[in-house]
């Protein structure tokens, strides 16, 4: 089973934390420091099962990222989770394809639980999320 998660986050310390936590749960982490780098990775590795996308990246806003990956049709079935320290993230209306939000700072057990629930969710709940929002999760 493919266990690749793409983490797009410009804060190296947060990247390291997510890698530590997710690798202990059996995932393989691919890291990108910018949205552009994330898109470049997705062009060659579109099989990732989840994208964790920081909302405050230096080169691109989240809607621009979503628009870019949709235009290139490289991400039609890969769910995305937003994570950010932006206040009131949990009240945000989620665009298509975004299955949940993780508010920073997050509690480690909650984070692990959410990702675990995501992994064990039926495949049908994890796929075609650009047209379905069947597995929204909000943590933080």
């Amino acid at each position: 089973m493919n266990n690749d998660i793409l983490v797009i986050e410009d804060n190296g310390e947060m990247q390291d934390l997510l890698r530590l936590l997710l690798e202990q749960e059996g995932y393989h982490i691919i890291s990108a420091a910018t949205a552009g780098e994330g898109i470049a990775i997705l062009r060659t590795r579109p099989e990732v099962i989840l994208i964790l996308l920081d909302l405050t990246l230096p080169d691109m806003k989240s809607d621009e990222f979503l628009s870019a990956v949709k235009t290139e049709r490289i991400l039609e079935n890969t769910p995305i989770m937003f994570f950010s320290a932006v206040p009131r993230l949990k009240q945000m209306k989620l665009p298509q394809g975004v299955v949940g939000v993780i508010q920073k700072p997050f509690k480690i057990p909650d984070f692990i639980k959410t990702i675990g629930e995501f992994r064990t969710a039926p495949t049908t709940m994890r796929q075609n999320l650009f047209t379905k929002k069947s597995h929204e999760k909000r943590v933080g």
């Binding site: 804060n11 310390e13 390291d16 934390l17 530590l20 202990q24 320290a85 920073k104 700072p105 997050f106």
Partner: protein, 102 residues
Amino acid sequence: MENQNWVVNVERVLEPVLPTFIEMRWKDLEKLRSGIEFSDYHSLKKLSHRLLGTPGSFGYHYIVELAREMDSAIERKDKLTLNQIAYKYENFMNTHQVKIKK
């Protein structure tokens, strides 16, 4: 404030990376002081944003609280408050105790 006994409860899974985390927080204090000295509000804003993230997950909620105070002081370019925050931050770093959760 000075006499408060700070106890931080850290998840066991984070124990191996805790020394690096603490080292980073001391470096952040240097960045905070430098940002105040040179009125570099852009760098201070980046610092406060970073402090709103990782420290909370390590159980360092007081640093998150200070980061929120920083955000507000940066908006006002309020150096007096920023200096007070730097003082509180250093005091916390010097006096806090870590407990690893079982």
